[in-house]
């Protein structure tokens, strides 16, 4: 799966979780940039990503991700394994 394909699918998940059908994601995007991104929506987003991509994160993974770019990389890594 290419980074672009991941981003494409991730955008849908983000739009659903953050209830914003126009949301566009970028690599540098962090929780500060999105209205309503708090610990709860964060968990919802992670769970959505796990379901959507058929992967499992550990608590360590979740804590290590600092922005959307790192999330995309993490997804790519998990998918490759």
């Amino acid at each position: 799966m290419t980074a672009d394909a991941i981003k494409h699918q991730l955008t849908d998940i983000f739009r659903d979780v953050f209830n914003d059908p126009t949301l566009e994601i970028t690599d540098e995007m962090t929780a500060d940039d999105v209205d309503g991104w708090d610990s709860l929506t964060h968990i919802n987003m992670i769970l959505g990503v796990e379901q959507g991509f058929g992967i499992r994160f550990s608590i360590k993974d979740v804590r290590a991700m600092r922005n959307v770019g790192e999330l995309v990389q993490a997804i790519a890594k998990k998918r490759a394994n």
Partner: protein, 468 residues
């Protein structure tokens, strides 16, 4: 002398802060430790021993985890550390709630600091701190011991290390002073006045009219905010004077338009702690149960926020009420509320203002409804107030104005100031800058100190969150 509102304390603080910057860098961590232990010992030497024991346990566990060869050893050590520290809180909180024990000063706060440290080291062995002096000063750091804020270990250790090489930072000192003065004003001039009036209603709530009782219930939230945010500012200010920035506890909570947002802005050092060490791990574990699992996690998290204050039925109900409000808010935002976002169809200005204002008022009202249980010492008192609010028992005819001369006016003024402060004190900085040419900052602080000296009520002083 030990009280953060006592003039003598601040005289001592000034001397102590001078000492810090005069000392050679390598002595400063030890100096903070001596100060903090000295501060604690003046309250209780026996409980100081307890804190030292807890600190040494966490210190040893941290090194043990870092040195452990196997994952299972790491897990065992982590559980031992967390279990031991949590056990201490549980024993004393139960003893306090059910047998009237005296709670060790700051137990909940320093234990949570130590627990976060143990878990951080478990997650990342590089977080381990081997410098014993530096480590011991972390849970004991006296500006944060009475009621937090609950600082994480990493930022604390980094700042104390940096302190060794640092010269006195003029801007930080002034910011610390500003925080102390504004914190004292919020606490002593506003919060303690509200507290006196609320106590006047508490003495016989049944004799007051329904509207006045509702206003008083709103007052619970306002008084708690003025008290705790005032305290936090003072604590942060004292920390800054000693070169340590602490984490914020409040971010304009009254601007929140729903309960979920309220919790991102209220007692943040506690809620982020619970999020990181309880809520996220718990939801990750329960993820296969989907929405039901998530709701259960929210309930557990909120119930624990409640009983963290004390093992009483009222605090549990406080937490469970928030769990219900929080869950409903989450479900609404996820499934019912219209889509939002920058590119969503523009909303008419008036409608947006009305919606925001409605959200703020509703959030405040929900928060206040939980405060009935938080504020009342006993279950039946809270139920009595609720029954009166809903008209199930007759109300009296007294109004807040009957408590004493000027009571109603004082209540209104204090409430307005608190709401203003709780909305992030909009315009305060701009006003301060604008009048600076006429009234320079030293004069502004001077007027603040003068108001503190002349308008502090006689009954002022103790902090609500000091008991937790």
């Amino acid at each position: 002398m030990l009280n953060f509102t006592s003039p003598l304390f601040f005289v001592a603080l000034a001397l102590v802060a001078c000492g810090l910057y005069i000392l050679p860098g390598r002595w400063r961590a030890a100096y903070l430790l001596v100060l903090s232990y000295g501060f604690y010992a003046m309250v209780s030497v026996r409980f100081l021993a307890l804190m030292v024991a807890g600190s040494l346990l966490a210190y040893g566990i941290g090194i043990g985890i870092a040195n452990a060869r196997s994952d299972s050893a790491r897990v065992r050590l982590m559980l031992l550390g967390v279990g031991g520290l949590l056990g201490g809180i549980v024993v004393f909180k139960i003893g306090g709630a059910w047998h009237g024990w005296l709670l060790p000063l700051g137990l909940s706060y320093y234990s949570f600091k130590l627990i976060s440290y143990v878990i951080e080291v478990y997650w990342d062995e590089d977080s381990v701190e081997r410098d014993l002096t530096l480590f011991l000063s972390y849970p004991a750091f006296f500006p944060q011991i009475i009621s937090g804020p609950i600082q994480r270990s990493e930022p604390y250790f980094q700042q104390v290390r940096a302190l060794a090489a640092r010269r006195l930072d003029s801007a930080q000192i002034e910011e610390g002073f500003r925080l102390i003065v504004t914190g004292l004003m919020l606490k002593l001039l506003v919060g303690d006045r509200l507290a006196t009036l609320i106590a006047g209603v508490d003495a016989a709530p049944g004799s007051f009219g329904r509207i006045d009782l509702l206003v008083t219930i709103a007052g619970y939230t306002l008084q708690l905010y003025a008290d705790f945010a005032g305290y936090t500012n003072i604590a942060l200010g004292i920390g800054k004077m000693l070169g340590i920035d602490g984490p914020p506890n409040f971010n304009a909570p009254f601007l929140a338009t729903n309960i979920q947002e309220m919790w991102r802005r209220w007692h943040m050092s506690l809620t982020t702690w619970l999020t990181d060490y309880l809520f996220i791990p718990l939801t990750m574990t329960m993820r296969r149960y989907g929405l039901a699992g998530l709701l259960l996690c929210i309930t557990i998290n909120m119930a624990l926020i409640g009983v963290w204050h004390g093992f009483t039925l009222n605090y549990l109900i406080f937490g469970l009420m928030h769990a219900v409000y929080f869950s409903l808010t989450m479900l609404y935002l996820r499934y019912i509320s219209p889509p939002r976002g920058k590119k969503a169809p523009p909303e008419p200005r008036l409608r947006r203002i009305v919606r925001t204002a409605f959200g703020m008022v509703l959030t405040f009202a929900l928060m206040s409804s939980t405060q009935i249980f938080f504020h009342s010492a006993r279950f039946d008192q809270a139920i009595g107030i609720l029954r009166q609010v809903f008209g199930l028992i007759p109300s009296g005819a007294r109004s807040i104005g009957d408590i004493g001369p000027g009571a109603a006016e004082t209540f209104v003024i204090c409430a307005l100031i608190t709401v203003w402060a709780g909305c992030g004190a909009p315009g305060a900085r701009r006003l301060s800058d604008r009048i600076a040419p006429v009234a320079p900052r030293w004069l502004q602080y001077g007027v603040g100190l003068f108001l503190l000296a002349t308008l502090t009520p006689d009954s002022a002083g103790s902090f609500v969150y000091g008991q937790f």
